[in-house]
Symmetry: C2
Subunit: 122 residues, 2 copies
DNA sequence: TGTTTAACTATCCTTTTGTATAGTACTTAC
DNA sequence: GTAAGTACTATACAAAAGGATAGTTAAACA
């Protein structure tokens, strides 16, 4: 086996399998129903907790707080606490978070076409 | 309210919320750990059940058969049975399935960079 | 004859995800 | 004083996703 070969459980992977891996990595960070919607909401500007909750249709407080924590861990979202009275917490996208813009645009375009397609069929 | 306004539960949606909807539509079809990996595998050519199972790392037969059915429902994948002896079943991407190529490419690129980033940090 | 391959399905179980509901501590508006 | 808003956390629960293991039918291979 040459140096630099990608392996899993001891055997060399095929081209196809290898090209799946990075997509899987992306999927892991963006998985679930809410992460991309939250990120999209923050692309429109910095927001406070309840503002995001209002803009992402159907999300509950619990999910929002959990997903924001996940996104913070992955350095896609930044949480800033202003120690005014009362305390104000603001969420914003990091630069890294903004790098998802292309991904979101492509998904939005595909999603639009998909929705149209469904309409026509129904 | 003007004609053509998008609403949910009776009130007009903001720009941000509206731009979330198509992404949510896309996410619904592509949700889960396995759908994109399976589609990627089929982008490399038509395949039989066990071939896909071998190329998508970690998938079980159960998951594969379920996900293939889902993808067939959404017209992304076509299932062809050749009534040879023994029966041979071949899976292929439909033209619509191929329209996901851009999505996958963008995700792969982002995923690669993400993986690199993780490496450097660790 | 026993094993292997192909293409699944079935069953059981665990984990993850998501929902519903309530509660807290503080502040401003009425 | 009461209600409402802000930014959450806590608890309990239901549903969906995923995993482990085994079984089926039928042919081919050794």
């Amino acid at each position: 086996m040459k140096n630099g070969e990608v392996t899993i459980e001891g055997h060399t992977l095929g081209e196809c399998t290898k090209s799946i891996l990075p997509v899987r990595d992306a999927l892991e960070v963006l998985s679930g129903k809410w992460k991309l919607p939250i990120i999209i909401s923050l692309m429109f500007g910095n927001k406070r907790f309840s503002q995001i909750a209002r803009e992402v249709p159907g999300i509950t407080d619990k999910m929002l707080s959990k997903e924001l924590r996940d996104l913070e861990c992955n350095e896609l979202v930044k949480r800033t606490v202003f120690d005014s009275i009362p305390v104000v917490v603001e969420y914003s996208l990091t630069e890294y978070g903004h790098s998802l813009k292309v991904v979101i645009e492509v998904l939005r375009e595909w999603g639009s076409k998909h929705r149209e397609r469904m309409m026509v069929e129904a």
